[in-house]
Amino acid sequence: MQPEGFHEVEETVRGVLRDVLGISAERAAAFDEATPLFGALPELDSMAVAGVLTEVEDRLGIIIEDDEVDGDMLETFGALVRFAASKALT
């Protein structure tokens, strides 16, 4: 059962990936829970990760600490959304 606001967080993260990585709206709209991110998207290299995290922070009004960033939360679209939601919706 997803908390209230989860869908908004998901659409915000989708928008961040689209805007930061320069991905088309169609491609970003097709991202789902299982879509692989870091390691699978050629646009998402380590420098782009920094931009994605900062943009997520700015749009959701959250702070992501450096030690919270690991491979797991960047592995799939679902993992990144769940991480963002855990910080934005508490």
């Binding site: 380590s46 420098m47 920094a50 700015d58 749009r59």
Partner: protein, 218 residues
């Protein structure tokens, strides 16, 4: 310094963001100046010490030097002059004699430091090295951050630097959460890996600037 538009009347002077974001937003900034020229408003884009074609190495520039150079560039132009500052460019126009400051998605120096440290951490992690952000406060040599060699004094000045609040119109993207006088639909070009452009966004900024300049002149 690039110049566009008529030889007289108000001049819009661009302050590009610091470091890599300047490369990402330069084409966008020039598009805005061309759009302004089409609307009968002059524009200028100076290269500041350590930026663009400047011969000064990046690690020899600093905040005071950039602000002084920007003010000097403005003083060579016709009045009335207005700045269009993009992102951290908003930290550079405090000393310039201008009728107004248009700040597009401005940021504080501390935010810039944080983003630079984050980019460095990402690349260090990829190289299998450790990077401690606290080392930025104690560095005695220039530090390489996100592709630029930056002097420790510059990093220290950035920590306290904030955009000017005099005569400022703050405009942000609709996706930004921070306060603004107005919001425009547009994409954060400064976040892309490659330089890009957003023609509709540039036209929207030009239209907004034209209206604002007319109000300021009245």
């Amino acid at each position: 310094m690039l110049r566009f538009g008529p030889a007289t009347g108000p001049v819009i002077v661009i302050a590009l963001p610091l470091f890599e974001e300047a490369n990402r937003t330069r084409a966008f900034a020039v598009t805005i100046l061309r759009a302004l020229a089409e609307r009968g408003i002059a524009g200028a884009l100076p290269d500041l010490p350590g930026q663009g074609e400047s011969l000064l190495p990046t690690h020899e520039t600093g905040l005071a030097k950039l602000r002084t150079a920007f003010a000097a560039a403005v003083s060579h132009l016709e009045a009335p002059a207005f700045t269009l500052a993009i992102r951290s460019g908003a930290l550079l126009d405090a000393d310039a004699t201008v009728t107004g400051r248009y700040h597009l998605s401005p940021m504080a120096g501390a935010d810039l430091r944080r983003e630079l440290a984050r980019a460095r951490q990402a690349s260090s992690r990829e190289a299998g090295e450790a990077f401690d952000p606290a080392s930025l406060d104690t560095a005695s040599e220039p530090v390489e951050l996100a592709g630029n060699l930056i002097a420790p004094a510059f990093l220290a000045d950035l920590a306290a630097a904030t955009p000017s609040s005099e005569g400022v119109r703050t405009v942000r993207l609709q996706t930004e959460a921070k306060p603004a006088d107005a919001r425009l639909p547009g994409s954060p070009l400064w976040r892309r890996a490659e330089p890009d452009n957003d023609l509709a966004f540039a036209q929207a900024v030009a239209d907004d600037i034209v209206q604002w300049v007319e109000l300021c002149a009245a």
